[in-house]
Point group: C2
Chain length 453, copies 2
Amino acid sequence: MATKKFLIIGGDAAGMSAAARARRRDPELEIEALERGGFVSYAACGIPYFISGEVKALHDLVVVTPDEFEKKRGIRVRLHHRVEKIDPEKKLVIARNLETDRLLEFPYDDLLIATGAAPIVPAGLSLSLPGVFTVRGLAKTRELKEFIAANSPREALIVGGGYIGLEMAEALAGLGLKVQMTKLTPREMLALEEEVSEEIIRELADNGVELTIGAGAEKLEPDPAGRLKIALSNGEERIADLVIVAAGVRPESELARQAGLELGEKGAIKVDRRQRTSADHVYAAGDCAEAYHRLLKRNAYIPLALTANRQGRVAGTNVTGGQEEFAGMQGSAVTRVFELTAARTGLGRKEAADAGFDAEKVYVKSNSRAHYFPGSRTIHTVLIVEKNTGRLLGAQMAGRDGVAHRINLFALAAAQGISVSELKDADLAYAPPFSPVFDPVLQAAEVAAKKIG
Amino acid sequence: MATKKFLIIGGDAAGMSAAARARRRDPELEIEALERGGFVSYAACGIPYFISGEVKALHDLVVVTPDEFEKKRGIRVRLHHRVEKIDPEKKLVIARNLETDRLLEFPYDDLLIATGAAPIVPAGLSLSLPGVFTVRGLAKTRELKEFIAANSPREALIVGGGYIGLEMAEALAGLGLKVQMTKLTPREMLALEEEVSEEIIRELADNGVELTIGAGAEKLEPDPAGRLKIALSNGEERIADLVIVAAGVRPESELARQAGLELGEKGAIKVDRRQRTSADHVYAAGDCAEAYHRLLKRNAYIPLALTANRQGRVAGTNVTGGQEEFAGMQGSAVTRVFELTAARTGLGRKEAADAGFDAEKVYVKSNSRAHYFPGSRTIHTVLIVEKNTGRLLGAQMAGRDGVAHRINLFALAAAQGISVSELKDADLAYAPPFSPVFDPVLQAAEVAAKKIG
């Protein structure tokens, strides 16, 4: 009997998680991954910290090398292979070896599309000018780092105020650059509720980042002094030596579309909870695909690392005879913006209303530690709670101490349908260096429980 | 109609929480608290950090002053009043004013006993020798601080290896003292599982604390050089300039016993979930009383600050016509020992077995942050899981980064009957400065879910 072949398009976390899981379950399966770039299995979320210098070496971001995949796990990795066509009828993928420029055919028994997401580049912004970068992939990251080292840029403009934009603002400011940021969408950062978003805006201002709200970057050109001139949609102009385009991402679903696969939310590849696409034997996982949202009870497009890893694993299980379902995500995320940590899980007020929930919003300020303990800082908490049941639908927090793990209590509560009345009675561990006797989580739940009453 | 009177014995967190809650619910009620010492409503858990100097002023530990209670809330506080007798038949309390030495009668309509716990002092240890202290109350704390300032002790011996002993070891070592510690009970610190306990033992050793295990302090006397000589039960001898007796606590239930009230677990005052004792109109709350244990589904004696505050509030609700029940505790606790944080919630392996659970133990080591991120440290996690259901019964953690709030995810899971299979699928917020993509909580739950099958 011939060995079956599992082919993977894309060597990111989703693709390589699938490969690793499939190998663990089936030592015989032929597994091959086609990656357009020169790296697989790297921690994309770590890129801003390599730019800042907190992470010293680019290869520190690589989790497993192609060599390790091949020698230790028998997973073939082909770098610099760009897939040009998927033929689900013939169960065939055609890819170009970018080093030889030759087209090659890759038959498969099962295929996983894990092509990830690509930065959205506003029309009018040319990425070909020197000093203009997106944040994507390790090769580009190395170029950016080298550009900064070689040119010592004094001023940077970040186009976009999402997670990557904020993390890059911190990284570049830390390197001594003056940082400007322009954000097309309204005042709320990261689509957070106002109370939490305002803390981010304050933190940016406190750290010298000049934020322009409600203006996109429309045109980018060299200025006579050899710098970059950016025309904003509000008619203003900015000058910078370095431009980072971080205006959101879109799913890389073009190959899938051309192959006739159904697309779903925001153009992401439509999948069921087993990560199957509309084509037989074709799976999709990670930032190119939709993901099942636990609270909305339908698919949504919120590309995040944990989801990508889990979807990859689910695909890896299912191509090896398993019956696993992706458990679901709920948009839990956290980011560090200078000294501030901002985090969210579940639904915001508008998302909850749009999904038909009758929801109440509660905002609570509390201390991160015992009031007398050094290092105690204010934590801002917003809860979104279903009115008739008291069920927690979402939570957002911002603060300069003790936010990143606390948000996860709300995440677990929202996922498990725990009400704020139950949550307020949780027996949480207390010691003065870590929390007040009544933890901010308990305080917020108690205020919410009273309000819902 | 005459105003009803709510009398409280003890001005600690439980007593004053009850007073505050009762006042909020009933502006007319006469409320009076009798406190033996000179302080009420102070943060006892903060004492080691005042000794260490992290908390600068003793009065920083006071949450609300007697004056504030009286003027702002109409709650009468009598300091230096030691209760000598409770007469539940006559609804009368007899107390001695320690400043005038006069006996006074206090009639009540409802009484709350919130007398707290007292340090256990092993026979043979005289507290009257200079340089010998327990950790209890702000007056004694001030004496200890003054003793250290005046005598510059070089060596300290801590009798007992519980939370207070460990925190005092850190505080005294931080002041430059050489610290010895002796612990009568076996090797496991804080009754934690071996894997977590060993991290504490290592941390003590790394910080120069000389720990003697399995030996109690039997005799304490001055030595010829004017220092203190301590004879241990293993025949050894220790010399120190300062001795801290922190060999556990016992409930202060003697008044209740004399009044004929039923005592329960470990001599603590027996209460129902409304904090009622066996005598009509007599309530008890805090470290002198039992508390309902959520996982054992019966009362237990695990004196902790959050429980005391909550029981006080429940009593305050119920003496003002409410029908509130204490939701329950599960022994969640956390402590900082030098750079290490150790935490627990729920049942240990032996406790689970004793309670009739068929439980499995899982031990997992993981990184506190992304592997490449500076500051990532090992987190040691032990889970106790019910075999047939996968329900989480308890968790313990030790680590030098990111332990204190993570334990609370396990606390919530254990309280809500969430299985490790559900927990492993939680959508937790991730960013490299705070966690790996799969958080240590998820990793431990996954290992447990696999082991349970």
